[in-house]
């Protein structure tokens, strides 16, 4: 564990963009003792971990395997600002194509699953279709909630490529935009559905 701590220190201190957020350990998250079945994968019963003990984890983020270290009590993506309690939707990511609040997800639940963040929608340096639709329809203002909005839209469209207006409203209703760009966000999701 001592060695791990040292590694962690080095990693945590680097990088400055949200792009790299899951490459750092500060994001880890991890499970408690045992029994989460949220993603249909039972955590192994023998893996009872101390709350403050650093734990090795492998997360698959945007197609790349990330070995991370985290205290078991850390929630997934705690360095990504949000409410931390499943209210605002700013931290929405896809876990196996399903939009989830990262703040309400423990890493042990996400281990082995396919985690996709807004960075994972980029096609190299080009914007992905949902991102491009948000840019074109001006579906953002301050941009703070935008990664979560885009992932909610992406998840909606992966499950339902031709959503009705009602389905768009329902699919986007868990993501708050305090700047109030809802009309633009609505149009962006419509455009994204047409683009995809």
């Amino acid at each position: 564990m001592k060695k791990d701590r040292k590694e962690q220190k080095g990693k945590v201190q680097k990088g400055i963009t949200r792009r790299g957020f899951l490459t750092t350990v500060g994001v880890g998250a991890v499970g408690v003792a045992a029994s989460s079945t949220l993603l249909g994968q039972k955590a192994k019963a023998e893996e009872v971990r101390e709350a403050k003990e650093l734990t090795k984890l492998t997360l698959v983020v945007n197609g790349r395997r990330r070995r991370v270290l985290a205290e078991p009590r850390w929630t997934l993506l705690y360095v990504l600002e949000g409410c931390g309690r499943g209210e605002c939707g700013y931290c929405t990511v896809l876990i196996d194509d399903v939009p989830r609040y990262a703040c309400m997800t423990l890493a042990v639940e996400a281990e082995g699953a396919k985690i996709t963040t807004v960075e994972g929608l980029m096609k190299g340096e080009e914007l992905g279709p949902v991102q491009d639709a948000f840019a074109e329809e001006d579906g953002f203002q301050c941009g703070f909630c935008t990664p979560g909005q885009i992932m909610a839209a992406e998840g909606l469209l992966r499950a339902n490529p031709n959503p009705t207006s009602e389905e768009i409203l329902e699919g986007m209703s868990g993501n708050i935009c305090r700047c109030g760009s809802y009309p633009q966000i609505f149009k962006a999701v419509k455009r994204a559905a047409a683009l995809k």
Binding site: R18, C83, G84, R85, G180, P183
Partner: protein, 762 residues
């Protein structure tokens, strides 16, 4: 190099040095078009850097302990257990030497009100008591919980009306009434005598939180005695650098503030957060960079609020719809410290409709609550809630259509300024009349009235608005640099909190120079690399910065023409800039990048300063909003089905930014009217609404996504761009417009906000 410039386009005429530029033509090439934002990519790709995205080598994490009581003396702070905890590097509180390095600063509205950092007397739930720096955020929070504080808990008062009663607990030694402000014109009694109908009613609007998506916090890094602080703010110079340097005793030159992105603003970032001092103090003590990212819960006591209003309105009107007198009195609170509880409390009564006889009285009361900060048109939406509902009530009393009655009282000059200066343009009549027409007001009202007997009823309502500012508020000093390759860089201090500043300024430069916007870089909101300016508030940024940036671009063109004149051996007056080159009347031409003056110097610099508003005139924005609602008579659920916002804000520079401001203002206004309310626990004085479930801001399902925007352009030429601000005006009418529509649907006059089913049981 031609590819940096639009080819074959003629550009606005370059005035001679010292001459004023002509206004742009009504139809412009770039300005006013629906151009994608220049920073769209950063904001949709995850590349945008908010303070919490910054990690520095060796960085520690800070956390703040907050007072759990509404009113308490801090008797003793025991940090010994916290200091021994793993990863903890520093604990500071009111008794620490570090805390003494902070000099209390005033509040945004009152320089004499001193904000203490870790006060020995905590006057509201959530006031900071101590802070920790540790290796990880979790360790910092653990340590915060391990700090033992002995409090002497005192009686409290959280209701501003209660606070005025005899025997109420004293929030401040001098008493709970801070001040009563008055404004008077004409003869009120005479006005009421002249009226055919006089009505009186009480209204209340609840306290609204800014609820910025990004909570307070920042990353502080010391380089010797120089501080660099990354935060989210509406002004890196004002308020942030000014107040932080004052609070920490730093020269301005050694206090660098950077805020390229800010998660929200809405007025809540026109003043510094206390975390802005705590992070630097912890960083100083530990010798390490420190990040503080406060929690959502902390953002409610810490992130500002718009004061609750308790209003009494008495209005007189003649049978023909002419207003004769307003008497408006309100009791508000800015919390436990003087912080603008009645700032601009009466502006719509002073100067929206013509009314010769007016008396307003605003009383600011101390309660054991967190300080209020300016929020998007301070006090205007609350005042409009009462006034605009009253207008409808009066219209009904005299049997007149609400739109018709408002049109009877149109001003063309400022009634509340000495000498009654005329408005540069007055679009209020067009906003109301053209807006009603575009909305289909009469037909919609008639149709809605046919639903009067059903369980689901429809109603149609409207409200007008104006705003105190939205004009030029200096200073700002843009510096524009034309590089030898023809690309252009703008350096300007203003914020872009998602308001579209960078896009609008790029459009102004593109309009004037003919350069394609993608070859312009805007460097902004960094005290280390840009020039001092006022805070991005009061809807000032666009009206102040666009003419200044236009002037800077013109100065570049003037220098280019002088230089090219030498190259082409003609008089500068024979030359024009067009499509990436300078062309003479005789047909000679030289590419911008081939001008020898530019090639020799490698840069041409244009510097300009913010101008002034036209003397003897009043610049003011106007608007009128129309909406249709559906009300379920069994549950009293209200759904806003349709919305139209008509605005006269001068020339629109950035179309998407303009529409975003309208959508945002309307959404926050609907929140004020239908769902948002601060709640204190009456037993303990604790704040109960500290999350987004208990404090309900609108979601995508709570607003009409097919919102319509009607642009009223009166060709205002008060500045060289003619752009007024539009950040705040759209927040003014929505709550009242919805309330009027709900009344139309139900016949129930909801005088208290928010309109919700709970009120029916009350």
């Amino acid at each position: 190099m031609a590819s940096y410039y639009e080819e074959g386009v003629s550009l606005p005429k370059t005035p001679k040095p010292g001459e004023e530029p002509e206004p742009w033509p009504r139809k412009t090439r770039v300005v006013g078009t629906r151009m994608r934002r220049v920073d769209a990519r950063e904001r949709v790709s995850g590349e945008a850097v908010y303070y919490d995205d910054i990690s520095l080598r060796g960085m520690l994490y800070g956390a703040i302990l907050r007072c759990p009581h509404a009113n308490a003396m801090v008797k003793n702070v025991d940090t010994s257990a916290a200091e021994r905890m793993p990863g903890v590097h520093a604990v500071i509180h009111g008794g620490s030497p570090e805390a003494k390095q902070y000099t209390p600063i005033g509040t945004w509205a009152d320089p004499t009100a001193k904000r203490e950092l870790f006060p020995s007397h905590c006057r509201y739930h959530g006031e900071p008591v101590a802070a920790v720096a540790a290796e990880t955020p979790y360790q910092a929070w653990d340590a915060v919980r391990a700090i033992k504080v002995d409090y002497d808990v005192l009686p409290f008062v959280v209701d501003e009306v209660e606070a005025l009663k005899p025997g109420a607990p004293r929030v401040r030694e001098k008493g709970n009434k801070r001040v009563t402000d008055k404004y008077e014109r004409g003869d009120l009694d005479k006005g009421f005598r002249e009226a055919d109908v006089v009505l009186e009613e009480n209204y209340r609007v609840e306290c609204q939180f800014h609820d910025c998506p990004e909570p307070a916090g920042g990353v502080a890094n010391w380089d010797g005695d120089s501080l660099t602080l990354w935060i989210g703010t509406q002004g890196v110079f004002h308020p942030s650098q000014a107040e932080i340097s004052a609070g920490l005793g730093l020269p301005l030159s050694k206090c660098r503030i950077i805020s390229k992105y800010s998660g929200g603003g809405f007025g809540g970032r026109t003043h510094v957060y206390l975390a802005d001092f705590i992070a630097p103090l912890l960083a100083k003590k530990t010798g390490r960079p420190v990040k503080i990212a406060t929690t959502r819960e902390e953002s409610y006591p810490d992130g500002g609020n718009a004061p609750p209003h308790n209003m009494k309105v008495k209005v007189g009107v003649k049978r023909d719809g002419t207003l004769t007198a307003y008497h408006y009195a309100t009791i508000n609170t800015g919390g436990a410290i003087s912080s603008g509880g009645i700032f601009w409390y009466d502006r719509p009564y002073r100067d929206l409709y013509l009314c010769p006889n007016v008396l307003t009285e605003g009383t600011d009361v101390y309660v054991n609550g967190p300080p209020s900060w300016p929020m998007r048109a301070p006090c205007h939406p609350q005042a409009a809630w009462a006034m605009e509902q009253m207008m409808d009530t009066l219209a009904e009393a005299i049997g007149m259509d609400p739109v018709e009655m408002r049109l009877k009282n149109m001003p063309t000059y400022a009634q509340d300024i000495e000498g009654n200066p005329p408005y540069t343009t007055t679009g209020l009549r067009e906003c109301i009349a053209d807006g009603a027409k575009a909305f289909g007001w009469k037909e919609a009202r008639r149709k809605a009235e046919r639903t009067r007997k059903g369980e689901i009823r429809r109603g149609v309502g409207m409200s007008s608005g104006s705003f105190e500012m939205a004009f030029i508020w200096p200073p700002t000093t843009p510096i524009l640099k034309l590089s030898r390759d023809g690309s252009v860089k703008l350096s300007i201090g203003e914020a872009d909190m998602g308001t579209g500043t960078k896009t609008a300024l790029s459009m102004v430069i593109a309009e004037e120079l003919g350069i394609k916007p993608e070859f312009i870089h805007v460097e902004h909101a960094d005290t280390g690399t840009t020039q001092v300016c006022q805070v991005s508030a009061g809807s000032r940024t666009i009206p102040t910065s666009t003419p200044a940036v236009r002037e800077a671009a013109i100065k570049i063109k003037q220098q280019l023409l002088d230089m090219a004149a030498k190259d082409l051996k003609v008089d500068p007056s024979d030359l024009v800039v067009e499509g990436g080159q300078i062309v003479s009347t005789g047909g000679k031409k030289v590419k911008i990048t081939d001008v020898s003056g530019l090639k020799d110097r490698m840069v041409i610099v244009g510097v300009a300063h913010a101008g002034a508003n036209p003397p003897g005139k009043r610049v003011k924005p106007f608007c009128a909003h129309f909406c249709e609602v559906e009300v379920n008579m069994k549950t009293m659920e209200v759904k806003v089905l349709r919305y139209l916002a008509a605005h006269e804000s001068g020339r629109v520079i950035c179309k998407v930014g303009y529409e975003a401001q309208l959508a945002g203002g309307v959404t926050q206004g609907i929140g004020l009217g239908l769902s948002e309310a601060r709640v204190f626990d009456r037993q303990t004085g604790k704040l109960l609404t500290t999350n987004m479930h208990d404090y309900k801001v609108p979601t995508i399902k709570d607003v009409p996504t097919g919102m319509e925007y009607l642009l009223i352009d009166k060709n205002d030429t008060f500045s060289s761009t003619g752009a007024k601000g539009v950040g705040e005006p759209p927040k003014v009418p929505p709550a009242a417009a919805v309330a009027n529509a709900v009344y139309h649907a139900t016949g129930i006059r909801f005088t208290k906000s928010p309109i919700n089913p709970l009120q029916l049981g009350a």
